[in-house]
């Protein structure tokens, strides 16, 4: 549940340097068509990325996770199990009287590949598959939101400077001084309270939305900081000066001059932040304030499994390993994306 904090700041200088190099290529007049002199930065990056074997492999794994998440209903159909049926409770001989799987290794069998969840007796394999959906959906939504907030405030601070910069800078300082775990937890009931209409049934999207909002509120600062720094340096560059002299409006300068040059840090930061959001989301669920039943969720599964350490370790091992693999793939991909954008970086 570590939200991306200070640890990413050491990338600042590197990124500023590299983006400015790229920015030199895309001239002031035709930023939307940057490819007229040699290869576009995008293509360069893509080539470098393809040369990075680890990057490609992790990219494929991440893609596989996405595809599995999208195809979950199909997999469920082929596999013949769904995530809401209580197989263990419906049939005799699967769970003991106190709810433990009867079969060895957590009830793993040809029918239940990863075994059964103790208690309700749902199929662990299909729960995991559907759990990817929850994780990815929230992580992507949070990434999107934090990117929007971070970009808006970062550019505003960097470009406008003065009081705006000061204000945004202090807000960031304060938010970064918050003990983030306590605040994530304490904000959940507040946000949930704001969202839910009294005595209506709590729809399933509610806990989704609440988690997304809470993580976004406290997750945009590092991106904003980096973009502010980058914008500050870009602001002084010739092509921006030129645009100003020719009388371009601030909106035009921001959208046509600055933003195209900021895609690199934005993309890199978002890719790096994504696994952090995945783990933060799971952390909230692990503490019991995240996504609720019956939506399958990895963090909640791990929290449940921690109760069965001695008696049913299978229940922990599958979600645990899946989580590690998932985050690892995302981390590797993030590293590779950064390396591809930044040939100076070290690999």
């Amino acid at each position: 549940m570590t939200t991306p904090t200070g640890a990413t700041t050491d990338d600042d200088s590197v990124l500023v340097g590299s983006t400015s190099d790229l920015a030199a290529n895309s001239s002031a007049d035709a930023p939307s068509d940057p490819g007229f002199r040699g290869l576009s930065p995008g293509k360069l990056m893509w080539r470098r990325f393809l040369r990075d074997r680890t990057g490609v492999v992790s990219g494929v794994i991440v893609l596989a996770f996405v595809v599995i998440a999208l195809l979950a209903p199909v997999i469920s159909m082929v596999y013949g199990k769904d995530p809401v049926t209580h197989y263990g409770q419906n049939a005799d001989g699967l769970l003991t009287d106190s709810g433990l799987p009867m079969g060895p290794n957590g009830g793993m069998s040809g029918d239940f590949w990863f075994g059964l969840e103790p208690g309700l007796g749902r199929d662990l394999f299909i729960l995991l598959i559907y759990g990817i959906r929850t994780s990815l959906l929230i992580a992507f939504a949070v990434s999107l939101l934090t990117t929007v907030i971070g970009v808006a405030l970062g550019i505003a601070a960097g470009y406008l400077g003065g009081k705006t910069d000061y204000l945004i800078g202090r807000i960031i300082d304060i938010l970064m001084s918050f003990p983030s775990q306590i605040f994530l937890i304490a904000t959940m009931p507040v946000v949930t309270g704001l969202l839910v209409a009294n005595n209506e049934a709590q729809p399933t999207w509610l806990s989704f939305t609440a988690v997304t909002i809470v993580l976004s509120l406290l997750g945009w600062m590092s991106l904003a900081r980096i973009l502010r720094a980058t914008t500050l340096s870009l602001r002084e560059r010739e092509f921006v000066e030129a645009a100003k002299v020719t009388g371009a409006s601030p909106a035009r300068i921001i959208f046509k001059e600055l933003l195209p040059n900021l895609w690199t840090p934005i993309l890199v930061q978002s890719t790096l932040a994504l696994p952090a959001f995945v783990t933060a989301e799971a952390g909230l669920s692990y503490l019991g304030v995240g996504v609720t039943e019956p939506t399958p969720d990895w963090g909640r599964m791990i929290a449940d499994a921690a109760q069965y350490l001695r008696t049913d370790i299978t229940f922990l091992i599958f979600p645990g390993l899946a989580m590690v693999l998932f985050v690892l793939a995302f981390n590797l991909l993030g590293d590779s994306v950064r390396d591809a954008f930044d040939p100076k970086a070290n690999r």
């Binding site: 640890a7 001084s177 918050f178 306590i182 952390g283």
Partner: protein
Amino acid sequence: MLRFLVRRSLGALVILLIISMVTFALFFAIPADPARLYCGKVCSPENLVLIKHSMGLDQSVPMQYWNWLSGIFVGHTYPGGDVPHCDAPCFGWSFVKKDMVLDTLMDRFPTTLSLTVGSAVVFLIFGIGTGMLAAHKQGKAADKIASAASLVATSMQIYVAGPLALWALVYSTDLLDLPTYVPITEDPIGWFTGLLVPWIVLSLIWTANYTRMTRSSMVEQLTEDYVRTARAKGMSGTSVFMRYAWRGAMGTIVTVFGIDLGVLLGGAIITESTFGLHGLGELAIRSFIDSDLSMLVGVTMVAATFIVIFNIVVDAVYALIDPRIRLA
């Protein structure tokens, strides 16, 4: 230096003040009503009024905030007389724990401190050591193994690694003790064995972080011009490595370590929850669950204070390490 410290300390106070306000506001926005909860099952409206009064909750939120703030300097007497007088520095009385907030915080802090310091020693030594080794042997097998292992370990989360470690080291093998906290003054051996599993898990994850960070900043330093110059002038690889690259990389490491330390000392909720340790993190979540407002504000402020202080310390230390940076 003095001017820097004064200026930053004032800034920190302002930040803490704002954080305390936000905390107050936020906790009043949480739907549960502490007075109602304290009132218990059989709660007549009249009694609720009395309780609200004795808890000071019948006053406006800004007034309550003022009571809290002034209490730190001059102490606070709760209305109604059911509660002992709270001497300055007063962080309030916990109506749930029936104890002074400050006493509880002091009581919990050693656990968090032990957890943090114990693992920090390990992850600093091993993290920096492995990171330097990897940077030194850049591209060789040792580097590749260290990098891969640290990548896997950073992708572990406490809530995955913690239960797995408990299973592997305690439940299935009985190799180590279940995590508990015994004060080092009472029983140093018990203190050590009781915290061993949490230390191992924390160290594993954090060592990986520091390995990666050390390696990357060392490698970066090694490509800097001044290092190249030194090499070209005939300085030996090892001296360059230690005298130049390490000094350059130390800045980053100190910065990140300072920030991490500040966060860790405020209490790690998931870690303490996973291992059932009663430090500040566990206190925070417990107070949240109990709607123990004064305790929650207290523990939040302690955590925020650590973060803010260590930010200043980091900047000061950074300046000492790197003479190019001037403090103004």
